[in-house]
């Protein structure tokens, strides 16, 4: 990460905090080195390691009673430099906090020497939360105090990923009217490099999360200067003009179904006519069924065509000077947008709409919007590669190519996200560890969430957790009847409660770790932290194995290893020595894990940790299908923008479950949730026992694990009974489940689209291991009939009324940043062999 302003998108969840004094500043951070020397002693430790040393069981938001936050960072105000230099000093304050997110329940036990300190701050936080529910609420109160909102004028604190800072305006500014500071910071952020300094009367406030050591990481050169606050971009030397100016995402979530509109605003900043090409991600289960191009005040709806025909139409229109756009699908989660004949300074908007179902994981629905395609490794002879190239690299081939900004470059492309949530059940909390969010409206079951305007660089997945853990989530079936009398349903199947009463049998755990170049740095540290937790969590009767792969694959030992303390200690050493580098020969890793001699006494669980940055997805899925046997695969997507298509599909094919470990996620929690899942036997052999339901997808109903419902979709004709019945096996026991049927309603018309999309996914799955020539044709006809994107269909729109002059112009690929936490030099640079 070269751009420290990009780090303004902090996790923004707070527990500790402090106030700056006039003329200087004081920053309280837990467990940070009290001097530069101490800081240096800790440079090899990650936050999670530090937690483990401290004996903490969880790095989340749980209280750590008695913790002493004894390190205070003084922030002298630099008069002219526009930068802050931070040092350390001992604090006399003892602070101890716990809580969840800003605005949620926060407890404080503090004795600040300033009587306007912590209690006042907490009061303000509650006040801010209360007022943020009201439209048009001023940012500041009558006394000029900032009403705290988690992203106003916010900055990241380098070396402290779980802290953020913001500016409290002076009384004069506050009285003058709210947005003075935000506007100045927003303006300064656009300078190259951006600068920042406090104005007279302003104060800098920093909020830090308790329980996470502010320990520098080896990966971040800035982090070695523990506690520094940077407001400059030392690495960025120039801004790259790009034809994609802005992306606006508007999502409506009803229950577990999301309807999303993505507006891409193209603008030609050059003096000649161009064609813009943009490779971008969407959720892997997105049913893309709308495409609209807007030129000035004219709006043209694109039409679905067979891909080859759409590409031909686009090429012909482009050659004849018409403004045209084409949307193609390269992977279920990777798309290419082309817009032809954009004249100088012209603006063209493209709107893409899709439906999708939200996954429910461990008490929360997750709304995910991916923002960038990670750089993929393509083994030789990959039939359909995704090429990662430096910005400016021409693409003479027909292969999909993503051009990445260099660490010294940034672009002006930004993103805005608004999510309207109607959970249809009480919401316990709405949180995002990936981004800073605003809650603009909030009631028991409804809320509007927006992305902070200071967190708009599209370089990582936006993940919003809608926590309904307190609600009684039950199985349910939604239906829809179309005009022709054809019925569609969506069934959410929740594991029965008595599943948790049964205990698991001894396990054989095979840990498969991606140690390729794209994993080096923060993703690798997260992966290792999860591994360490897993090793500590095994039972004495379990066995295990660790297999790492990059350009090759190797294992800790030749046979299953007993989970004895000595063996676990040896495994810990092995994990500590692992590092990321080289290519991603995932196939070798998969083969090593699935061909590994089986422990006949135990059920084999393959725990697969990877970012999934490979181009040969289908080859990997085919290998899993062929070699799986009796094993189950639990995939863990590591990093800020993992390949969720591959990871979801691996778990689905592997009869397991998927989990994601973001850079800000506590690895301990994620691994604990895994052991909670496998601590009870899965519900297997699930079958629908009610007549009249047909074409149910996925064709093979996944096994049910504790805390992990599955969603099925299918068709029916005629009237459905009030409930439907399913049969299954739980251990050695036959069980039946009854699910109530919701009456068909007009609001469920997305179900037909979602059914068709799920069927397409099922058919495409089969292509990983069969070459049935009828499958592509079946997918094509289904996609055309339901107006859906697929590998074999595409949306095209042509404005036939206007003809631009001259040649069709230069093709410009929209460059994108590498995902946060991913190193450009180990993934993109052509001289590095991956």
């Amino acid at each position: 990460m070269s751009n420290h302003w990009t780090q303004l998108r902090t996790v923004a969840v707070c527990v500790g905090l402090f106030v700056l004094a006039v003329g200087g500043a004081t920053l309280v951070l837990p467990s940070c080195g009290t001097s530069t020397q101490r800081s240096n002693q800790q440079t090899s430790a990650s936050p999670n390691e530090q937690l483990e040393r401290d004996g903490a069981e969880s790095p989340g938001w749980s209280a750590r009673s008695g913790s002493t936050f004894d390190n205070v960072i003084s922030v002298p105000k630099a008069e002219d430099s526009g930068q802050f230099e931070l040092g350390f000093q001992q604090s006399r304050e003892r602070l101890d906090f716990s809580g969840t997110t800003l605005g949620d329940e926060v407890e404080a036990d503090a004795e600040p020497e300033d009587d306007r300190g912590l209690p006042w701050m907490m009061e303000q936080m509650e006040l801010a939360q209360a007022r943020s529910n009201e439209a048009g609420t001023p940012l500041y109160d009558d006394d000029g105090n900032l009403l705290l909102r988690p992203s106003q004028s916010q900055m990241n604190v380098v070396g402290h990923p779980d802290a953020f800072a913001f500016v409290k305006p002076s009384r004069r500014q506050a009285l003058a009217g709210a947005h003075v500071v935000e506007e100045r910071l927003a303006r300064d952020q656009k300078k190259m490099p951006p600068t920042f300094e406090l104005a007279p009367g302003e104060e800098l406030w920093v909020i830090a999360k308790a329980g996470v050591a502010a320990t520098p990481s080896n990966d971040d050169p800035w982090a070695a200067r523990c506690g520094m606050l940077h407001t400059t971009l030392p690495d960025v030397t120039h801004v790259v003009p790009v034809p994609l100016e802005h992306t606006a995402v508007n999502a409506d979530i009803n229950g577990y179904i999301g309807a999303v509109n993505v507006k891409q605003k193209f603008h030609n900043p050059y003096s000649t006519k161009i064609e813009a090409t943009y490779v971008f991600p969407l959720p892997q289960n997105a049913a893309v069924n709308g495409f609209v191009m807007t030129i000035g005040d004219r709006t043209i709806r694109g039409v679905i065509r067979e891909r080859e025909e759409a590409e031909q139409i686009y090429a012909q229109a482009r050659a004849r000077g018409h403004v045209a756009s084409l949307l193609t699908q390269e992977r279920p989660n990777i798309f290419t947008q082309k817009v032809a004949n954009i004249e100088p300074q012209a603006r063209i908007d493209v709107d893409i709409t899709y439906f999708h179902t939200l996954p429910y994981r461990d008490g929360a629905y997750e709304f995910i919007f991916p923002m960038v395609v990670g750089p993929r490794f393509n083994p030789s002879a990959s039939p359909d590669p995704i090429i990662a190239s430096p910005n400016g690299t021409p693409n003479p081939t027909s292969a999909t190519q993503v051009n990445y900004l260099r660490p010294t470059e940034r672009s002006g492309h930004d993103i805005a996200i608004t999510v309207d949530v109607n959970a249809a059940m009480p919401i316990q909390s709405l949180t995002s560890r990936s981004h800073v969010i605003h809650l603009d409206h909030y009631s028991d079951d409804q809320a509007t969430v927006t992305l902070s305007p200071n967190d708009t660089i599209p370089n990582k997945d936006f993940v919003l957790r809608i926590d309904v853990a307190g609600a009684d989530v039950r199985s349910g079936l939604l239906t829809h009847m179309d005009e022709s009398g054809e019925g569609f349903f969506s069934l959410m199947l929740v594991p029965p409660s008595h599943q948790q009463a049964l205990q698991r049998q001894p396990l054989e755990l095979v840990f498969l770790l991606d140690c390729s170049g794209s994993m080096s740095g923060k993703p690798m540290e997260q992966s290792k932290a999860a591994m360490r937790r897993a090793l500590r969590s095994m039972n004495a009767e379990d066995t295990f194995q660790i297999i790492r792969f990059s350009a090759d694959a190797s294992a800790l030992g030749p046979a299953p290893i007993a989970a004895t303390p000595e063996n676990i200690a040896q495994a810990m050493d092995y994990v500590d020595r692992l590092s990321g580098g080289g290519g991603t020969m995932m196939l070798r890793g998969i083969e090593a894990a699935l061909d590994f001699p089986h422990d006949a006494e135990r059920m084999r669980f393959v725990v697969f940790m990877t970012d999934g940055f490979i181009g040969n997805d289908q080859q990997i899925l085919g290998a899993v299908h062929d070699k799986l046997g009796a094993a189950r695969i639990f995939s863990f997507g590591v990093g800020s923008s993992p390949n969720r298509f591959l990871l979801d599909r691996l778990a689905q094919l592997g009869n397991g479950a998927v989990a994601y470990l973001g850079l800000q996620d506590p690895a301990v929690d994620v691994m604990d949730a895994f052991f909670q899942r496998v601590a009870h036997p899965a519900l297997t052999d699930i079958a629908l026992a009610t007549n009249g339901l047909h074409e149910v997808y996925p064709r093979r109903i996944p096994d049910l694990f504790a805390g992990r419902p599955v969603i099925l979709t299918g068709r029916f004709q005629g009237e459905l009974p009030e409930s439907i019945t399913l049969s299954a096996r739980l251990g050695a026991e036959d069980v039946t489940m009854t699910v109530p049927v919701e009456q068909a309603g007009a609001t469920n018309d997305a179900l037909a689209t979602l059914w068709a999309r799920t069927k397409i996914a099922d058919l495409m799955n089969m292509l990983a291991w069969t070459d049935d020539p009828q499958l592509p044709e079946a997918v094509t006809q289904l996609a055309l009939g339901f107006d859906l994107m697929s590998k074999y269909t595409a949306f095209v729109a042509v404005d036939s009324l206007s003809v631009t002059e001259g040649d069709h112009g230069v093709s410009v690929v929209v460059p994108v940043p590498v995902p946060e936490g991913v190193r450009y030099e180990t993934t993109v640079s052509p001289q590095v062999s991956r």
């Binding site: 039409v303 009939g785 042509v798 036939s800 009324l801 206007s802």
Partner: protein, 159 residues
């Protein structure tokens, strides 16, 4: 010997030139055989406020046209492009439908949509357009409403 070599070179050059010319000719023909135009779809509710419509737009001879975009109309109530039936589109028919809840609805002949098409060949396509239904804001069907289509004027052409 020299003459034979010379003749061979000349023959190869002529062949190459002819082939190149052929390819260029084919490319030019491919370009010339395709053009993009748009057709306006005009619904006349005959003096009553138009709240909804459904129109069936098609070519009499399949293969004459390929629909490449559907644009909204001129009246603000129908400015957004209408939705189409994807199954009909597979047969190059545009079954278009839209409704409006605006307070101000058109009562006279109104351009409600524009269909952008690719025409292959020089022939002028024989188009058919039929009004499936036109209705008022309350859903009352208009028995006397009509629909027509015409070639849309290119941008900047005021004639």
């Amino acid at each position: 010997m020299m003459l034979r070599v010379l003749l061979t070179i000349v023959a190869m050059t002529v062949t190459a030139l002819l082939c190149g010319a052929g390819e260029r000719h084919e490319a030019r023909v491919a370009q010339e055989q395709v053009r993009f135009v748009a057709y306006d779809v005009i619904v006349d509710p005959v003096g009553r406020p138009l709240g909804a419509y459904q129109v069936d737009f098609a070519a009499a001879r399949p293969g004459d046209i390929t629909i490449v975009g559907i644009e909204g109309g001129e009246h603000p109530a129908f400015a957004q492009p209408p939705f189409y039936d994807p199954k009909a589109l597979m047969n190059e028919r545009a079954v278009l439908a839209a409704f409006s809840t605006d307070a101000a609805l058109p009562e006279g002949p109104t351009l409600v949509a524009r269909v952008h098409v690719r025409i292959t060949g020089d022939a002028v396509p024989d188009l058919t357009v039929a009004l499936t239904v036109a209705a008022g804001p309350g859903g009352d069907r208009f028995e006397t409403a009509t629909v027509t289509t015409r070639l849309a004027a290119p941008e900047g052409d005021d004639s």
